[in-house]
């Protein structure tokens, strides 16, 4: 049932952001699996040092190293690799790659400079994190033996920090006005601002997350960063139509007809059951009203939107594949 193509055929780097707890990591993981099912070799990255990927896929904590996460089982599918980028390790790697610091490199660590630089200097940390992602995205046949990825999915920091996180060079400007870190930031920016990148925002249909999404899209646009789609997560069941919801809200449900319909499906519906179902339905309808007003705001943003159902049993590995399939079907992957 997947459509023939993705809405973002040009995009190699998919950045996933959103308000905390709305499902960034879940959506990022689902999106990685979705790309793999389209035959791509995928890298799923996290940058916040939380080992969220390991938890979701129920594997042991990831080292600073690309690891095979999900081997393609179906014909025509691709593998998913995972990487937990660590700023300190990235800084040391960066230093040894570009400077022959030798003993000085070690001294930096011993004197707490690495810690210092990655903690305080805003932007330095971010350049290192995005720099690593950039490196993985830039590999080509000249990099012998290095794995090339068709798609990279980045589980990024939350919306409140995303423009700052990706807009690395302007953030650095106040501190490192020149020098190699600045040059590195400039190179990373060319990828991030290009059509090869898309930033997707995850939200739920509630006031605060939607407001944050609207603000986030504005900030990203102002920073010249390419906005992809909005993923509306944790969507409640949509079975009740507008008419049914109106009747529930107005209290005009024909309870005896309802009881008859239930009986026809073999459910012995006494008064208490019918009352309870109607009360549950009213709560739902009230919530849906709120959600619909938020959905209208999301649609006004003017980017493609994708919806993922709330899985009532929670998200396990099977759930991730279910979300992946839905994302494919809707064309995010």
């Amino acid at each position: 049932m997947a459509p023939a193509s993705s809405d973002f055929p040009e995009v190699q780097l998919h950045v996933v952001t959103g308000k905390g707890g709305t499902g960034k990591s879940t959506v990022a993981a689902g999106l990685a699996l979705a790309h793999a099912s389209r035959g791509k070799t995928v890298l799923l990255c996290e940058v916040e040092g939380r080992q969220g990927i390991a938890q979701m896929f129920d594997v042991s904590p990831l080292p600073y190293e690309e690891r095979l996460l999900a081997k393609a089982t179906e014909h025509g599918a691709g593998d998913v690799y995972a990487l937990a980028v660590d700023a300190e390790a990235a800084l040391l790697e960066y230093l040894s790659m570009y400077y022959r610091l030798g003993r000085a490199g070690k001294a930096l660590d011993r004197f707490g400079v690495i810690d210092f630089a990655t903690t305080i200097a805003p932007g330095v940390r971010d350049v290192l994190l995005t720099g690593k992602v950039y490196e993985a995205a830039q590999r080509n046949s000249r990099n012998k033996g290095a794995r090339q990825y068709d798609a990279i999915v980045l589980d990024a920091p939350p919306t409140g920090r995303i423009a700052q996180f990706l807009n690395v060079n302007s953030e650095l400007a106040g501190l490192a006005r020149m020098g190699p870190i600045k040059a590195q930031a400039d190179t990373v920016m060319t990828l991030l601002r290009s059509p090869r990148t898309a930033v997707h925002l995850v939200t739920v249909l509630e006031e605060m997350p939607v407001q944050e999404t609207i603000d986030g899209v504005r900030e990203l646009r102002e920073a010249g960063l390419p906005v992809g789609g909005v993923v509306v997560n944790l969507v409640r069941p949509q079975d009740l139509d507008a008419e049914a919801r109106a009747a529930l809200l107005e209290g005009t449900v024909d309870e005896s007809a309802l009881a008859k319909a239930l009986a026809s499906a073999g459910i012995d519906a006494d008064k208490a059951l019918v009352h309870s179902l109607v009360a549950e339905g009213r709560d739902h309808a009230e919530r849906r009203q709120l959600e619909d007003s938020q959905r209208a705001l999301v649609e006004k943003i003017g980017v493609p939107t994708y919806e993922l159902a709330k899985l009532a049993g929670g998200v396990d590995l099977g759930g991730l594949y279910e979300l992946a399939e839905s994302l494919c079907a809707q064309g995010l992957a």
């Binding site: 230093l95 004197f111 305080i120 026809s264």
Partner: protein, 409 residues
């Protein structure tokens, strides 16, 4: 349905775990209770809980100030605190001492009041600097790019400043008698522990090895200028440029004199949190991540000798308490979903909702009883997910009533 002495506030009553019920009103009415801290991981409802408790306490006769952090816009508006000016202001529409239901109030009606404020992190930090340094030095610090970075984006600054503000409010409350209860919300950190760790993180950062090295030239003793250090400065200069290093040095030496003051203040606030009059309420959603965080936090509080009042499980699914099982509802749904008449389609939709809700309740109950088994001493109150947002005083009152266990909620 069976009658029960405790009002039904959620699926907890369906669980067979011998969970202790948290008596929120007793907590709010206890005149010795001076500080209540609401903590938990992000998005679980800390701000909502803090504001509801504060309102309920005020309407039960306490003189309350609530420190909120990042409240939803409409909530801030209805509390009259959308102007971010770092000062507590009276909340309009509070009926002082009106809700002394249950006869639980020990403080007497009529005297209650509610002030609220929203934390301005940068401004609080600036004010600390201004209060600790000479005007000239303060200006130097406030303009340094590193100070600007630390005060606006250092991980933990917001937590640290929340503690700082709590310290100030407490001092003010003791001196002026304006308030007898301070309710504190905590920042939307990803981990509930950030709140306790922030002062330590900030001061150990400020006391860090490299910081001290940067200070060494200013402090004099040349023997500290080791070969290693020269190598380090050279490497730092090559990588980020000399300007950065000198900004850093200027910041660190200007800040040096403040270190002691910062440490002392952090220490005092930490002691305040351990004091008898303080209670922590851990807020969690009935989700694995949030409950795991809550468990860490509960353990940490007890390790630090900090008084835990209990756990608020927020946004719980309410158990419909009718016999129809998830499986039965789902099978009914399958049978009716493709029907063409309105009643059958509505029945299908309602069955689907019921099945989902049963599944959610079952999952949440399992998660909660796992928590309760591991932490049997933690008193708990379950707060149902309301069908609407909580963005005005009526909403807060409703949450407060649910927390307090009013029947009319």
């Amino acid at each position: 349905m069976p009658t029960r002495s405790n009002p039904r506030v959620g699926p907890m009553t369906a669980s067979h775990e011998p969970t202790r019920l948290l008596d929120v009103d007793a907590l709010l009415d206890d005149p010795k209770r001076r500080i209540i801290v609401c903590c938990g991981s992000g998005g679980v409802g800390k701000t909502t809980t803090a504001a509801s408790l504060a309102l309920r306490a005020a309407e039960r006769g306490r003189k309350v100030v609530v420190l909120t952090i990042d409240p939803a816009r409409r909530l801030a508006q209805s509390m009259g605190i959308e102007a971010l000016d770092n000062t507590p202001r009276p909340v309009p529409g509070v009926s002082a001492g009106s809700t002394t239901s249950g006869g639980g109030s020990t403080t007497g009606g009529g005297a209650g009041s509610l002030d609220a404020m929203m934390l301005d992190m940068k401004r609080t930090f600036d004010e600390v600097v201004e209060s600790q340094a000479s005007p000239e030095k303060a200006r130097q610090i406030l303009n340094n790019p590193f100070y600007i970075a630390v005060s606006s984006s250092f991980a933990g600054t917001q937590e640290y400043m929340a503690m700082e503000k709590l310290g100030q409010l407490d001092k003010d409350a003791r001196a002026s008698g304006r308030w007898d209860l301070i309710v504190v919300d905590t920042p939307p950190s990803r981990s509930a522990l950030d709140f306790l760790d922030a002062p330590e993180r900030l001061s150990s950062f400020l006391d860090g090895k490299f910081m001290r090295l940067l200070l060494a030239p200013a402090r004099g003793p040349a023997r500290l200028m080791t070969a290693g250090f020269n190598m380090v400065t050279k490497a730092v200069t090559t990588i980020i440029g000399g300007q950065v290093l000198s900004d850093m040095q200027a910041f660190v030496s200007a800040f040096d004199t403040l270190f002691g003051g910062f440490r002392q203040r952090a220490q005092r606030t930490f002691e305040l949190l351990q004091a008898d009059g303080t209670s922590f309420l851990v807020v969690a959603a009935p989700e694995p991540d949030a409950l795991r965080e809550a468990a860490y936090f509960v353990e940490r509080l007890s390790a630090e000798n900090m008084p835990l009042a209990g756990l608020v499980v927020n946004r719980a699914s309410v158990d419909p308490e009718v016999e129809l099982s998830e499986a039965a509802a789902m099978s009914g749904y399958e049978k009716l979903r493709d029907s063409s008449d309105d009643a059958s389609r509505m029945a299908a939709g309602l069955l689907r909702l019921h099945a989902d809700r049963k599944l959610l309740v079952e999952r949440e109950t399992r998660l909660r009883s796992r928590f309760a088994t591991a932490h049997p001493h933690v008193a708990t109150v379950v707060l149902p997910a309301l069908p609407t947002d909580v963005h005005d005083l009526d909403g807060l009152r409703r949450i407060g009533a649910l927390l307090g266990g009013d029947d009319a909620a």
